[in-house]
Subunit: 244 residues, 2 copies
């Protein structure tokens, strides 16, 4: 079992170090992670930017690109002759539930692995702190990984697994909650009188009563396992519409 | 009808200038576009980077961020009191069909608009050249926009519309073709003997025989209209699986 690990918080973050320790119980681990924070990088790829791999210690590399760059470059270099059996990304410091999945570098790496037909799981804890406590999540990460990697899912299927802070009641299979971010910028004035903005914001849950969403599970002490797909086609629309 | 336009090739690209001319036939246009190329930026957002809006001429602004930054910042400033009625993105110089939708900054902007409940369409022509000929596509862009903006789609639904080069046979409603990129990097040696990589690659179509995909339509002279959704849940998996 050859396991490739990346994240979007950069090599050295507590989350990825924890994930490496766990995955070494399952297989042979190779890390190719960004050389610093890349939160919010989604599936961004570096176009016309020289990418470099730097070996830190045996089987541990950093890359100056995005999480997706890490996966793509790994598959074309270290794993050029034989793909890894599994890609795991995280453990992210912060939630990737609901629409956050769209913006997540953690999940961007997962989607890239899924594109390449590799089983892939993203793990995230709803705690942004650099010293976040992953201990309640750890046994679930091990058991869920072992369950999910024996499956033979169709092309493009992958997993977005989020956990709340603290003791956990179990695992719910969930769907992506509908919602949106708002109040997203704080305005500032620079010394020359120019105006600039910095990203912040609040997430608005558009369906707080629904009990089958990732947000509901997280708000009620459960791990949210959202099976995900890189096929973004809206089949309901396709199958019901004739635009003439 | 208030229309917000962005792209990922940056303000001044022929594609967005063409789109502005077309959309001015339908409504009042505001442009908020990146100040330079942002291809491959997906749904990336700028975290801890000061974002600035620069007014170029009346109703035309550039932003130093990603396409998604352009939409988010617009909605929180220019459109803070009243959302636009429509967001259109493009016309991209290059295909956003198949898995390219995942990496596309053009479509990242569309997904962000969809998150915010705004009808949104991405237009792309399968021609990377800066002087690409959009003339065959133009009448379809107008007619498809007018048809699609009268709909009341569920939250998260949006459109990825791609056109091939040259004369067009019509429009096909399609799904996202399965496939993957490979041979993605060229290696280089720098003057100090270090190795770096630059992104390139070839798209592999995993289902060339399927006649309902965006790739099939594009390869046969049709515009591919793929209804898309920001809900990445795999409902087939969810409804068929019990992980115990």
């Amino acid at each position: 079992m050859r396991i490739l690990i990346t994240n979007d918080d950069g090599w050295g973050a507590k989350g990825i170090v924890t994930l490496v320790q766990l995955m070494r119980l399952i297989g042979d681990v190779t890390v190719v992670a960004p050389d610093g924070p890349r939160s919010g990088q989604s599936s961004a790829i570096s176009v016309n930017i020289p990418l470099r791999l730097k070996q830190i210690e045996p089987h541990i590399y950093t890359c100056n690109g995005t999480p997706v760059d890490c996966i793509k470059l790994s598959l074309n270099t270290i794993f050029a002759n034989s793909k890894p059996d599994l890609v795991v990304s995280g453990i992210n410091h912060g939630s990737n539930a609901a629409v956050n999945v769209i913006y997540s570098g953690t999940m961007g790496a997962v989607f890239c692995a899924a594109e390449n037909g590799i089983p892939a799981i993203g793990f995230s804890l709803c705690d942004h702190r650099h010293d976040a406590d992953f201990s309640y999540f750890e046994p679930y990460i091990l058991s869920l990984t072992q369950k999910l990697l024996t499956r033979h899912d169709p092309h493009g299927v992958c997993y977005n697994i989020n956990a709340p802070i603290g003791p956990l009641k179990g695992v719910k299979i969930t769907r992506q909650c509908k919602g949106f971010w708002h109040k997203e910028y704080l305005p500032y004035t620079d010394p020359q009188g120019g105006q600039f903005y910095l990203l912040t914001g609040e997430f608005h849950n558009s369906e707080p009563e629904a009990t089958d969403t990732d947000e509901w599970a997280l708000n009620h002490g459960y791990i949210a396992l959202t099976p995900s797909t890189i096929d973004m086609t809206d089949y309901t629309w396709r199958d019901s519409t004739n635009i003439g």
